[in-house]
């Protein structure tokens, strides 16, 4: 009799794959609209036409009052308030801008200085004409050419920061996301990594500070931004990348601002999220290879054994 097993195997695989395709890629494609990546180019924002002067920029940043809210730890300028109090004043703690030049896109930084609500894509929430002022005051210029002044400030920030290749995943995440999002599995809270405390009293005091911060943040954002520990598993990587790039594309009207990271920094943010939710991925891949080699050898010997046993049966 003709051996029908190959054709049976093809039939089984065919129906399994059809089912898989319908239940997974097809159904998910219907349920979640696809968002095209903008490649972190921020094309809706004007390009920088002037080349900046670092020394001028430094002077401007101090004189324009940036350091009234922002710290520049690297240049020896500490934060004027602790995070809890800053959040009570502004809704969220204004970031330290030491590394901003390496993490955020230059176009985005320039627009952020001139028109924060526009750069952050939160104009639906902060409409000046209705008296809803964004907590970050726009820079109206020091009397000279405002585009030149902004270019100088961006140049200073880029000069001050580490080179973009030295940005670590943790640095990128904490700068871009960490003041709103906790990552419990990495011990990260919105006011910093929770230290190991010797006394429970001190740990509780720290937790109270976090809760106070979160209270201001909740009022500012409408709801407490979620803990991102498992987001690498609960959202696809493609979703996270396009969401970081422009939250409005996925969730029109969301209070989450566009964070303005460069493409490189976005990859680092994703790397950090994978470290929290998928820590063992490197171990998994190296062990996986060995297991596969073992199984292929096992299957081959099983095949030889079967051949040997069945030789007498035909």
């Amino acid at each position: 009799m003709k051996n029908k097993e190959p054709i049976i195997l093809i039939v089984v695989i065919f129906f399994s794959l059809v089912t898989y395709y319908l239940v997974e890629p097809f159904a998910h494609g219907v349920m979640h609209k696809h968002v095209e990546s903008e490649n972190f180019e921020y094309k809706d924002l004007p390009a920088l036409t002037k080349s900046g002067n670092v020394a001028n920029g430094q002077e401007l940043i101090v004189n324009a009052g940036c350091v009234g809210c922002h710290s520049i730890e690297k240049a020896g300028m500490p934060a004027p308030m602790d995070p809890v109090m800053a959040a009570q004043s502004y809704g969220v703690n204004p970031p330290d801008i030491s590394e901003a030049g390496a993490i955020y896109d230059a176009r985005f930084l320039a627009e952020l200085i001139k028109n924060p609500a526009h750069a952050l894509k939160v104009e639906h929430k902060f409409d000046e004409s209705k008296g809803q002022m964004h907590p970050m005051v726009p820079f109206y210029g020091m009397g000279g050419d405002i585009d030149q002044e902004v270019a100088d400030m961006v140049a200073y920030l880029q000069d001050l920061a580490v080179s973009p290749s030295e940005v670590t995943p943790k640095m990128a995440f904490e700068n871009a996301c960490g003041r709103c999002h906790a990552v419990g599995y990495e011990n990260w809270t919105q006011i910093g990594t929770k230290p190991e405390f010797k006394h429970e009293k001190d740990a509780l005091a720290f937790d109270i500070k976090v809760l106070e911060y979160e209270e201001s943040l909740t009022k500012y954002m409408g709801k407490l931004p979620p803990d991102l520990s498992m987001y690498t598993r609960s959202r696809s990587e493609d979703f996270l990348r396009t969401f970081i790039e422009n939250p409005q594309n996925h969730l029109a009207g969301t209070a989450m601002p566009r964070v303005g990271v460069t493409a490189d920094a976005a990859e680092k943010v994703l790397e950090y999220m994978k470290d929290s939710g998928d820590t063992k991925r490197h171990e998994r891949e190296s062990i996986g290879k060995n297991v596969m080699i073992y199984l292929v050898i096992f299957a081959f010997f099983a095949f030889l054994w079967k051949k040997q046993v069945w030789r007498d049966l035909h």
């Binding site: 029908k4 049976i8 089912t19 239940v23 219907v30 820590t279 891949e285 996986g288 596969m292 199984l295």
Partner: protein, 405 residues
């Protein structure tokens, strides 16, 4: 008491007390299997291996899992996935196997339908198999609850709501099952017990019954041929292995089983290491939130076809048809009135069409069960659900007109 002699070896000592020679004959060396069966008959062994993988990985997970609503999600996603060495491996094996086991069960089931393995004396094999399927479904559902993710919570809510009996509004019953008004600690505790003790015990018992049911009618074969097992096994034992229509289970068929298992394991561990999320719904990696309904609530893929039979109708009719779909497979040996035991393709056009339409229709139901019930999808779902019911109602009529082949 029986007469015991001084043992000549350890084996002899055991033999006098446990009859291991006899057990070996009954279970393996003189357990006769038809020769003309293909790799689809190895699915039983594939299922045994998958069940063992589930059991072993489950035992390891059980060491660290904490069955409380506050700790469950954390213990799975932090403790097991990060803190415990190889916790991720056990979890992925458990999660992937839970899904793959249903794929193999469905292949096993449709193999049985295609070759008529439920007919003529093999009814108990089919019925015990269907009982296993139902118990596995309960096992899968109770396990799905345990990580206490967002979909666990809402699937628990939706499925327990079914017990309200539609417009009967048996609300008290639903609360009695949950032990609360919503899925909470009492609910989790119960499902934990069901998943790790009661249902696995029932499964082990049913596997025993399923195997025992094979002993007398023997395994079916590719042609549905009636084999005289006594005559054929005598031929084999007299040395005419090639001429006999039967072979031993061990090592003859077992060597083929092991080969199929080997190939299956390559596929299985490829999923475990590189495509583990195919089995784990992303929504379940958000912690359960009773105040936030997910945009789409759907069961795991292996329940989708019966879910889609429930969904397109009003609640009462839907429930009745859902109940119908759940139990109707059990009655297959009695609904099939045909005298033939042979592959569906040789049983005449009517049954051939019935079989392939049933298979395709269940895949369509599966797909529609996951898609949002809107527009053309709900129409297709409705038609497919009606076709499913009509097919089962028509089965006795089309099979009783079948001619003997």
């Amino acid at each position: 008491m029986a007469h015991f002699t001084k043992a000549t070896s350890v084996k002899d000592w055991l033999n006098q007390r446990l009859a291991i020679d006899k057990v070996e004959k009954v279970m393996a060396s003189e357990y006769w299997i038809p020769k003309n069966i293909n790799f689809l008959w190895a699915m039983g062994m594939v299922l045994v291996v998958t069940f063992v993988l589930l059991l072993v990985s489950g035992i390891f997970l059980l060491m660290y899992y904490v069955p409380t609503v506050d700790e469950a999600f954390y213990s799975v996603n932090y403790t097991i996935m990060r803190e415990v060495d190889f916790g991720w491996l056990w979890r992925h094996i458990h999660g992937v196997a839970a899904s793959v086991v249903f794929l193999v069960i469905y292949i096993h089931m449709f193999t049985g339908i295609y070759y008529g393995s439920y007919k003529k004396g093999r009814e108990m094999i089919w019925i015990s198999g269907m009982l296993l399927f139902v118990t596995f479904s309960a096992e899968a559902f109770s396990g799905y609850m345990l990580p206490w993710g967002q979909m666990s919570y809402w699937a628990g809510m939706v499925i327990t709501n079914l017990f309200a009996g539609g417009s009967l509004h048996a609300d008290g019953l639903v609360e009695w099952i949950r032990g609360d008004y919503v899925p909470a600690q009492a609910f989790l505790g119960r499902f934990f017990m069901l998943h790790v003790l009661l249902l696995p015990l029932a499964i082990v018992g049913l596997i025993g019954l399923h195997f025992a049911a094979l002993r007398i009618p023997h395994v079916n074969n590719q042609d549905g041929e009636e084999i005289d097992f006594d005559a054929e096994s005598k031929k084999y034992l007299d040395g005419d292995k090639a001429g006999s229509k039967v072979i031993r289970f061990a090592n003859d068929f077992m060597s083929k089983d092991i080969m199929v298992v080997g190939i299956f394991l390559i596929f299985f561990f490829y999923l475990v290491f590189w495509n583990y999320s195919f089995a784990l719904d992303p929504v379940n990696f958000d912690p359960a939130d009773g105040l936030k309904t997910p945009a789409h609530i759907y069961p795991e893929w292996y329940f989708l076809w019966s879910y889609e039979i429930l969904r397109p109708f009003n609640i009462d009719l839907g429930l009745i048809l859902f109940g119908f779909a759940q139990v109707i497979f059990v009655f297959l040996p009695f609904l099939d009135r045909s005298p033939n035991t042979c592959p569906a393709n040789r049983r005449g056009t009517m049954f051939k069409v019935w079989f392939w339409l049933m298979l395709s229709n269940m895949i369509i139901l599966t797909a529609m069960g996951k898609l949002p019930p809107e527009g053309v999808f709900s129409t297709i779902g409705l038609v497919a659900a009606i076709v499913f019911v009509v097919q089962w109602l028509a089965l006795p009529f089309i099979t009783s007109r079948e001619k003997k082949v």
